[in-house]
Subunit: 295 residues, 2 copies
C-alpha cells in the first residue's frame, strides 16, 4: 500500500538505492548508452538536494508513519542525542519511503543539536531536528511558520514524556519507573522551548540530576513525542489540497502581552517574539503598576 502512494520517480529512486547505496536517479539518467546528453554537459541530477523545498518531490497522498518514526527517534536518541533522534528518524523514514532527495542527505547532520545545540542549553534539539525537516518539506512559508509555531507552543505546555517505546533501548538505565511503578516518574510541562529550562525543570520535579540515566530516558521519550507531533504536522500539511497549514492549534499564550508590547511600539518595550512571556517574565515580577489583564 505504501508503494501505491509513490510516483514513478520515487520508485526509481528506491531502485537506485537497491543498486548499491547513494546513487541518484540523475546518475541513471545521465549515464549509459541511451543517454541523450553528451559527456561535457551532463544532465543535472534530479531530484537534487538543491531543488528545495522538497514537497514537490513527495507524491500526492503520501503520509509518514508516526509509529515507525517515533520508535526510531526514541532509539536514535541513545546514539546521537535529541536532535539526531528526531532528525534521523524523520529523514530515514522519508529516505525509505520517498527516496531522493532525502536519501542524499547526511543522516548524522543533527548530532550537533544535542542538549540545545552542543549542550549550550538553547532550543531543545528534538525541536530543532524536526524543524529542519519541516523547513525541507514546506514550500508554503505561511504553513511552515504555522507548523513551527504550533510545534513550539505545544512543546511548552505538553507534560513530557508520554511515549512508551515498543522495545526499551539497551542503553537505558533508570531509577524511576516510567510505566506507572514506584518510584513514579512525574511528567512535567517545560513552559519553554529551551533545553536548559525543559531539562532543569523536569529534573527538579523528579529530584534527579541532569546527568542521570533518568534524564536520558525522559529525553529519549520526549524526542519520540516531538517526532510524533512533527509527523502529525507534516502529514496534515501534505494531506491538504493545495498543501497548507492554516491554523495554529495551540492558543496564543501571550494574548495579554501582545496588545501593548507590539512590534510597532517604541514606547512600551517592543517585543518580537512568540515564546511564552510569563515563564521568564512572571506577572508577579512585573512592576506593581503593570496591567495584568489588559488588553
Amino acid at each position: 500500500m505504501e508503494q501505491e502512494q509513490l510516483g514513478r520517480r520515487n520508485m526509481l529512486a528506491r531502485t537506485s538505492l537497491a543498486l548499491g547505496g547513494l546513487v541518484t536517479l540523475g546518475s541513471l539518467q545521465g549515464c549509459g548508452s541511451d543517454s541523450s546528453t553528451s559527456s561535457t554537459t551532463p544532465t543535472p541530477i534530479t531530484p537534487t538536494v538543491a531543488d528545495f523545498p522538497y514537497d514537490k518531490h513527495i507524491a500526492a497522498n503520501y503520509q509518514l508513519d508516526p509509529a515507525l518514526v517515533q520508535e526510531a527517534a526514541y532509539h536514535a536518541y541513545y546514539s546521537g542525542g535529541c536532535c539526531h533522534g528526531s532528525f534521523s528518524a524523520l529523514i530515514s523514514h522519508l529516505s525509505a519511503t520517498v527516496g531522493a532527495p532525502f536519501n542524499l542527505l547526511p543522516i548524522g547532520f543533527g548530532k550537533f543539536g544535542a542538549g540545545g545545540i552542543d549542550s549550550y542549553g538553547s532550543i531543545c534539539g528534538s525541536l530543532l531536528g524536526a524543524e529542519l525537516v519541516i523547513n525541507m518539506i514546506a514550500s508554503d512559508t505561511t504553513a511552515r511558520k504555522n507548523m513551527i509555531w504550533e510545534l513550539m507552543r505545544w512543546y511548552e505546555t505538553y507534560a513530557f514524556p508520554v511515549y512508551v517505546p515498543a522495545t526499551v533501548d539497551p542503553a537505558e538505565s533508570t531509577t524511576l519507573s516510567f510505566t506507572g511503578g514506584t518510584p513514579t516518574m512525574t511528567p512535567v510541562a517545560p513552559g519553554a522551548h529551551l533545553c536548559h529550562a525543559s531539562v532543569s525543570k523536569w529534573c527538579l520535579a523528579n529530584a534527579v540530576s541532569a546527568g542521570s540515566g533518568d534524564k536520558k530516558a525522559r529525553c529519549a521519550r520526549l524526542t519520540a513525542d516531538v517526532a510524533g507531533k512533527a509527523v502529525a504536522l507534516i502529514n496534515a500539511y501534505l494531506a491538504a489540497s493545495p498543501r497548507a497549514y492554516g491554523t495554529i492549534g495551540v492558543a496564543d499564550p501571550n494574548a495579554k502581552c501582545d496588545g501593548c508590547h507590539t512590534a510597532a511600539s517604541a514606547v512600551n518595550p517592543s517585543v518580537a517574539s512568540d515564546m511564552t512571556c510569563v515563564t521568564c517574565h512572571p506577572i508577579a515580577g512585573l512592576p506593581a503598576a503593570h496591567p495584568t489583564v489588559t488588553p
Copy 2:
C-alpha cells in the same frame, strides 16, 4: 592567490559550475567514454552532500575571505533575514571557492531561521545559520562544540552592531545614524543568544520599535558581525594541523554558578546549560540566603 589554495578537485568543481550550474565532479567522472563503470553500477557522485562533515573536501591552507562574507551577509539579510544572511553568505563563498559539496546545497535553506526561527524569538538566526555551516565543516566534535560555544558566548557580550557596510543596501531606511551622526545609534550587548532578548534590549535602549527600519539596519549589521566571527572560527579550525579548535576564547560566564548547580547534582537544581545564567536569573532575584560568590 585564492586559486593557489585550491586542490585539483576543487578546480574541477569550479569548472563544472562554469559548464552550467549544478553539475558535480562525480557527473564528470561517472559519464563519458573513459568511464570505467557500467551503466548498471554508476560511480557514486563525489563529493556528495551525504559525505559529511565536509572538511575532508577542503584543501589544506584554504581560508575564507571575511570581508566578502560579511558584506554578502549584510545584504542577504534584506533578502531573507538574519539566518539567511549568515548561511547564504558562508555557503555562497564556499561554493565559489571550494565547490562541491557546498555548491550542491540549497542556498535558501536558512530563510526559516529569521527572527529566532520564523519569528518565534528563539536562537538568533544569524547564529543558527553560522552554526549550521560550522556543523557542516567540523569533523572534530570537540572543536565543533568549542567553536559553537565561543560564538554564542561572544554574541552575548558583544556590543552590536559594529559592521559598516561597503555599500548601504537600497532597502535600508533608518532614523538613527549608524555612523556617528545624530541621533546616534547605541550599540548594545544582548546578554543572551536569543533573538527575542537581543532585539528587545537593543530596541529599548534605542527607543525604536522591533518593526522599525532601524532595527532591520541593526540586525543586518549584526548578521555581518556574526558571519565575520564565524569566518574567524572556521579559518582558525582549518588552519590548525591537525584541524582543531581547542580553547574557547571567551571566559565562562557561569563559573560562580556551575560549582553548585552541576549536571550531576540532584540536590541543588541541576543545570545543563552554558547560556549566561544571570541574564535571566539575576543575583538580586535569588533568595536572600543564596550564595553570591561561591564556589
